[in-house]
Symmetry: C2
Subunit: 255 residues, 2 copies
């Protein structure tokens, strides 16, 4: 695609979305030719369409001539109920968790076979974590991921358990049968512990957040340096935050 050979049967909508999707965490700014190549469109088409997207504010063009995602798109996207809206409800509870621990606090939702971090409060002296707001991660390694996977529909679990499970560290659970047991324990206990399964020096404790129909819609976690805290001492704290946020999502509170 993009070299003019072969008919491009994608709809214009798909091509517009391809222009947006060309931007990634690794490539947050693109030249016009990079944008054209990644979106699979010709240079003149990319030029015309980029101009429209800049006019609307979906893209911005810097003084260096490179394109970036525009603030207007971020404004519209901030209306995503599973993005900023969830985050706004959760924020006071995340702040409380941060304030009493000064550790990393994370809020995540599931998107297909991955999780997306919706919020992260990083303690300045807390253990470094590999995450970024708006970033994705596999479900089988992190505390929030284990909670989200444990409560995902059966077909999602099935798909996750039959996909290759990447070993982030020697402690990451990569055996499907063992993972299945862990997920059952997460459902029974109402929390997940990931000890050195993402980076060896980090321990995460996560709890579910339930939405209107009592289904699990998100997960909250506390990430501390491994060996500095007894996981079981953190569980009630994280569970209380999860329950508090869940309560705010129930019909009588939800806006």
């Amino acid at each position: 695609m993009g070299n003019g050979a072969g008919a491009d049967t994608r709809s214009v909508t798909a091509k517009v979305l391809a222009m947006l999707e060309a931007f990634t965490p690794a490539t947050p700014d693109l030249s016009l030719s990079e944008l054209a190549r990644r979106a699979g469109v010709s240079l003149p088409t990319a030029h015309r369409r980029a101009a429209e997207l800049v006019r609307w504010g979906a893209l911005e063009r810097g003084t260096d001539g490179r394109y970036r995602i525009g603030l207007r798109l971020w404004e519209v996207a901030s209306l995503a109920p599973r993005g900023l809206a969830l985050r706004d409800v959760a924020m006071p509870f995340l702040e409380d968790l941060y304030e009493v621990t000064h550790e990393n606090v994370q809020l995540a939702v599931r998107e297909g076979l991955e999780l997306v971090f919706v919020e992260r409060i990083a303690g300045r002296y807390a253990v470094p974590v590999l995450t970024r707001v708006g970033g994705r991660f596999a479900l089988h390694a992190t505390g929030v991921g284990l909670v989200l996977l444990a409560h995902a529909p059966t077909e999602v679990q099935q798909q996750a358990l039959t996909s290759p499970l990447h070993a982030y560290t020697p402690k990451t659970i990569t055996d499907p049968d063992r993972l299945r047991e862990v997920l059952a324990a997460v459902r029974r206990g109402g929390y997940a512990v990931s000890d050195g399964q993402v980076t060896l020096d980090a321990l995460s404790v996560a709890a579910p957040i339930r939405g209107r129909n009592d289904e699990v819609v998100a997960a909250v976690s506390l990430v501390v340096r491994a060996g500095t805290a007894e996981p079981m001492n953190l569980v009630p704290l994280v569970q209380a935050a999860g329950r508090g946020i869940s309560r705010m999502l129930q019909p009588r509170f939800a806006g």
Copy 2:
């Protein structure tokens, strides 16, 4: 538009963007017919295009059949340098401001003649504020707005000063000459104070954040209950946060 009468000369790109822009803070979820009407397209067109947007994840469709902004759009939009990227750099400084004051902390950028709140940490017992992350506000009333307007290009200031200036309270500055003086004082002093100019019970102190070319790219503020603090005691605190964030935006730190 949308009733089939008259040719719709908008490009498909514009029509796709119109579908996204149909969602607003007041209308975060829409039925198909509401979506079609607001985007100015026929019902079949809206149906086809919404299906494509749902497939990609720009929209999500709830069990109630209503459309909402999708998490995938929020993920892509999180790459906006003036959105989450700025917010990630600023967050440790905003947390420090919050922790030492437990008051409202705000981070905003200018978009045309308005400001957009990029981050907000709201103290649970702090004075209520009218803002929301991703929300817009006029420039002439808030502390962050006064900072952003004071450092805006001359033509933007000219346009703002010749537009009607809404009186949020009797204390809002609505006289262009008086506002011009205030903006000059903001530039000289390196901070802005908005005392009861948005709501009578709130006082805000704001300072500029400077980017790569030393131009003002954002503003940070502390909003406290009017009468509970001497503004001049808050100024150094907010200015220090502004300078700290500015330093992180300078080339040697910026990623």
